[in-house]
Symmetry: C2
Subunit: 405 residues, 2 copies
Amino acid sequence: MGLIVQKFGGTSVADLDRIRNVAKRVAKTFDQGNDVVVILSAMAGVTDDLIEMANKVTSSPDKRELDVLLATGEQTTAALLSMTLQSMNYPAQSMLGYQAEVVTDHTFGNARILEIGASRIKDLIKKHNIIVIAGFQGCDTQGNITTLGRGGSDTSAVAVAAAIQADICEIYTDVDGIYTADPNICKKARKIKEISYDEMLNMASLGAKVLQIRSVGFAKKYNIPLHVRSSFSEEEGTMVVNEDSGMEQLVVSGVTHNKDEARITLKKVPDQPGVAAKIFTPISEADILVDMIIQNTRAGGETDLTFTVPKSDFESALAIEKTVAEEIGAEDVFGDRNIAKVSVIGVGMKNHSGVASIMFHTLAKENINIIMISTSEIRISCIIEEKYTELAVQVLHTAFGLDEE
Amino acid sequence: MGLIVQKFGGTSVADLDRIRNVAKRVAKTFDQGNDVVVILSAMAGVTDDLIEMANKVTSSPDKRELDVLLATGEQTTAALLSMTLQSMNYPAQSMLGYQAEVVTDHTFGNARILEIGASRIKDLIKKHNIIVIAGFQGCDTQGNITTLGRGGSDTSAVAVAAAIQADICEIYTDVDGIYTADPNICKKARKIKEISYDEMLNMASLGAKVLQIRSVGFAKKYNIPLHVRSSFSEEEGTMVVNEDSGMEQLVVSGVTHNKDEARITLKKVPDQPGVAAKIFTPISEADILVDMIIQNTRAGGETDLTFTVPKSDFESALAIEKTVAEEIGAEDVFGDRNIAKVSVIGVGMKNHSGVASIMFHTLAKENINIIMISTSEIRISCIIEEKYTELAVQVLHTAFGLDEE
């Protein structure tokens, strides 16, 4: 007996049969006496197809109009699921972004939710309806259609859950939860029963692509419990909750890896004020995201400076820095695509020393050289040679006691 | 220098190349110093595909949700055309039904437009934008998406033209105008330069499927000149205008035919009050549209009653009347699917006698038997044997002086 938000991703609504399965699951939850609000993605592949169509029109389609186009994807699945539920004699009604009053800023293609006027949703719930909301979309204060960016339906779901004060937000996807490491490279990876918002935030940004990172931030802010689970099984998935909620606190909750970055090093950079700005301003002007930055001061007023960028931006970043190096009088610029980032994550680290030393020691024992290190309160990341990625994840998983029993 | 509404049908926006052609035509009109508001249909076939998809979900999809689904078709083309115009450096902006404030009643699937809040469209025109409105769709006063029924984009176009007081509404389609008869069966058919709203209303309802009939009624009510023309050529099409606009008044403007009806006859119906109601109430309760009704009184208080229904409803109508005939004591019920209706239409008939006699004489000369007759102020229709349809259209076309010179 509760108010439950259920979000189904693109693979869960990929065709009419799967939509029927979703309808059965929603109906079951409703039959158990719950009020249910459903948030849907577009059918798997549809958003990409629409983007491809727009790119055939022009290489840089107008962003407002692209959002109008993309919004049809979720409109389609919302209508189809409502129809399916109705054909099963359940009182379902679809709502589009503007109908559900999902008000966003004006950033077409990557809009932020400003507020959700929940009164309309709540009214329909009171009349004992199942509400099916098109995810990923909202409208700005002028009534223009906006979309929330890749994975935006997760954020729609959590924002709606917050607005209507839902008891829980269930995220149905094609995996059955969050794992202690990628099961494809670490056979001993276990499904995590409970994880904190902060850990999940670090997991998401480091490569566990199950949840849109913004949705986790939203869930944390409004303290909405998330249940990440498979739409193809009845099994419990992973609960993402407040770390104070009495969950068992492991020192390390998971090991993640990311092969999507490359590094660039400027050698013997003159150690003068303003040099860092000269190095990074042209990079940000080229819309390239820099992740890690390490600076080692040498004797004699010179430093080596290393940073990482997405592999897809490696060539252009390298070209930019070759020009910069000449300007500022650095000795050399070189880069390396064959790197990977492995990270250990856990809220327990806050209260446990020694995690870093275990990590470094474990990697050293396998002769894995650490190229860069960065840390946060609940995360330690090391850049290593790409070829060692799988080995590193496996030995760290064992070292931190995460292996399946 | 004017305010022009241009409506493009499904074949005109069937793919990205055709949308590009539409964009060029719109741009040209804009470059000539006009303000342009475009109304679009969905890509040819898309609406049917969506209906088919809904019918796979359930044989009777919820009408509200079906409208949500169908509305994606026009949303797609409106976004794509706006993008295309923008990529050509024209200031275009799409508007969906609710954004253009096309307010309708609550009849999902066949909604009537109640009003169009033109202020928003006018504001954007003043800022020198090309407005691209998704046709066929509106919203009711609760903000639910509605659609206007088959061909509804024509009605959208005329209603918008009326609301913004456009100088003209151009209907771009895959034929180049209205013809004096169907050119497929009458080689001598000519394109009509000018035709009155009333004639067009009769043409549309009798089988010239170029314009949605409701749109013509709208155009007449608000006196919006329509220009029906081809989107694939620069040639002038047919103007549909007020009959007082100084147009040349032919006695007969066109000959139409319709093979979609069947007739049912009840023989020796007792001639008593209330009998007609007993015959037609169950038919209307079965949602079957009756077109013509003829009653011949016989001597002795009995009549023969004949009426026509759509061919698709023939079997069910016949079954209904067999039951009715027993109830009311009619002697027999029989039907005939092999009939056709040929009509001559012209506002000039109002002032010319003898049109009927020319029509009957012309058909008689070819030994074509007239089964039923109905007339209105500007139309005479005869039901004949279906096999004579083509011959009847051809000889009438010649008899009324419509043949191409």
